[in-house]
Symmetry: C2
């Protein structure tokens, strides 16, 4: 029997992805159905429902689910869930009872039986935005919505949604480009669980990554390796902000880092298909919730985890775990707990990696580097301080930026040529 945490919801892994003859038949049927366009973010949610990453969800949320989740983290049946997982549309014609095909970039990702269509007024969206995205940080004070509409990508996404939400169970038809584009990294929860079980792991920590892995992340992962059975370095391979490092480059960096600086059988690398929601503390809860489905018991939550600007308190994504409801009914409470760690860095007086909880020294002793300066260093060759990152990783990033520069230059030339 597996020693891993059971999937969230008490129903095992709920996988909506069809296979074999059933898949072929549904695909054929889908061609004839009314098409509903979905965003990249919704596509990611669908694939997660397909592979069991969003267990026990088997479709998009009803109004009652949406309301309960926004208000107090509970779906209508009392199961914990941290963020709304909804499907929006501006389609006036689609109605309850319809069966529809969900389309992104010309590909049908799922079919769905519409069991409920509910209006999302501006007031509803604003209510969702405030309930889900408003935090305790400075930018959340005063006129939160005004600031958020300027600077909060999560809130911008909510407010840009369609006039209706469609609820209903889905049949997922495709995992899109993930299994091929990220072969060997993209994993279904069952695959990750199988690896953990084969290794006899029980206490598995997950490190959430959406940026290249430098020594500060390495330190977080190694603390986890020391106190758990192993660490799951789990990268977002969905969409990020423009200018962020693509997943394939980040994966290459992690490979180099694990190869040179980790005991390999204490680490598993994987990728998951979600886009960032930029939901701060609630996103931290989501990270723990779907990680439980992957077999993870401890979610590493650092300082300002999934933070956006100054909307959240530095430890809000840690303390929110102490505030969520824990329904008593079996399966309904989140079981994956946070592994709370503070900001980490190299300190020359400590003579090694340290955190704000362990290092008593000053700023002048610490190797600190803003993302902007790091980017400048990597792309322009200005020096990157010793101990910030591993050479093997920095080399991969330098090469990435060099090629990027080439491309920009080529574009510039073309522009100069009058295109």
């Amino acid at each position: 029997m597996s020693q891993l945490l059971p999937p969230h919801g008490g129903k095992g892994l709920v996988c909506c992805l069809l296979e074999g003859a059933e898949l072929e038949a549904e695909k054929k049927k889908a061609e004839g159905l009314k098409k509903i366009d979905i965003s990249n973010l919704v596509k990611g949610d669908l694939i997660m429902m397909g592979i069991g990453g969003f267990s026990p969800l088997n479709g998009f949320m009803t109004k009652a689910d949406w309301k309960g989740v926004c208000e107090n983290f509970l779906m209508a049946d009392g199961t914990f869930w941290p963020v709304p997982v909804t499907l929006d549309t501006n389609d006036e014609e689609v109605k309850e009872g319809d069966e529809v095909a969900l389309v992104n970039g010309g590909e049908i990702y799922a079919t769905m039986k519409v069991t409920e269509k509910y209006e999302m007024t501006e007031a509803d969206k604003k209510w969702e935005a405030e309930k889900v995205y408003k935090g305790e940080g400075e930018d959340s004070q005063g006129d939160f919505m005004a600031k958020a509409m300027e600077d909060h990508p999560g809130v911008q996404i909510v407010m840009a949604r369609g006039k209706y939400n469609l609820a209903g169970p889905v049949k997922v038809l495709s995992e899109g480009e993930y299994p091929t584009k990220y072969a060997g990294v993209y994993q279904r929860p069952a695959e990750a669980r199988k690896i953990f079980e084969e290794r006899g792991w029980k206490e598995v920590a997950a490190l959430q990554l959406r940026n290249p892995m430098h020594r500060s992340h390495e330190h977080l992962a190694k603390i986890a390796v020391d106190v758990c059975d192993g660490v799951y370095i789990h990268s977002l391979v969905g969409n990020l902000k423009p200018g962020d490092i693509p997943a394939e480059v980040r994966v290459k960096c992690i490979d180099a880092l694990v190869k040179g600086y980790f005991v390999e059988d204490k680490v598993v690398q994987g990728g998951y298909p979600l886009d960032m929601r930029y939901a701060g503390p609630r996103e931290g809860l989501l990270h723990a919730t779907f990680r439980q489905n992957y077999g993870v018991s401890r979610m590493i939550i650092g300082r300002d985890h999934a933070g956006v600007g100054d909307f959240y308190g530095m430890f809000e994504a840690q303390t929110i775990f102490d505030k969520i409801p824990h329904p008593e009914e079996p399966g309904k409470a989140l079981l994956c707990t946070p592994l709370k760690i503070d900001w980490t860095f190299y300190c020359s007086k400590c003579d090694g990696m340290a955190s704000l909880r362990t290092c008593p020294h000053g700023k002048e002793d610490r190797v600190l580097l803003s993302g902007t300066k790091l980017r400048k260093g990597l792309s322009e060759g200005t020096p990157i301080p010793d101990h910030f990152g591993r050479d093997e990783v920095l080399e991969i990033l330098r090469e990435y930026y060099a090629n990027l520069e080439d491309k920009v230059e080529i574009k510039t030339h073309k522009a100069a040529d009058g295109q």
Copy 2:
């Protein structure tokens, strides 16, 4: 309400130390009682019973307790306890019903109502030694007792005990030299709990120390600081083997280390009055059991914790926690859990502290130093490798050894003078 773990046993802190008028009266009465000599080890046990460190014990174990503890870690009433806490004597005259005074070094430490006197034959002692001290290491195979009588101080202590055990409740009259000799370090459980509560700690890790604290211990403590609310650096201030560093020197080292390399409000230093039992895995359990009384929830258990020679497997003191019974009745199970960490060291390729779980590099990259070489370095000035210890700590130890050399030289001179 305190967020700390309750004391072991479900009866709060059971403190047998008398105070005020009651103490004075009992002292007077004790003068007239029959005297029973006790060992230093028993004196430590008594003081722990006095201050609540051995809650729920309020006296020495009956034969049924002794048997249950040796056999399956349970006292007669079903409460978990890891090692026998018994009072031995060769006194033929003392009998059940007697009230006796327990004496060490001319001082009366307690009075005791003898409720049971039971014989401890050679066979009983041997049975105890095998049940409690025999492990999975190489030296425990084959003729364990023969090897143990040569090389196992714990077994030697058991086999050297008297012919009888006396059981019964105690009234403790003195904490001995601890409150004065180790003022500011020696702590009662209630004092430690008060500090933890004032700091709002809930998850408190303890680091057991009986040797000077170098960077490997610092690393253990810092991992604990990162993943718990704080660390209790808890030194044995009772008796050690001859040649070990005295507690006052070790305490000075810890002070220097905490001052220079820790965030002070994440650390509490304390001392406890026990002698080493050298009981390997069972001693690890004892460390967790009395630490629970001090308010600790996570006991750091490293590689070969409390190990003796090759009597125990490297991780036996960690895995034993998975094998002990967990009585369901409230208070009877051990609640303090192990924080299992592997062997730690500085690695030049890792560019910092690492453990066998996190470092993939070779011996040649690691700073490893035997106790013998360290001692030689400190006392004779041979070099101690970089990154092994903090300068401030090594300086204190060098000074200690220098003074020790002086003393040895003085002794030698006197001997040469014919004394």
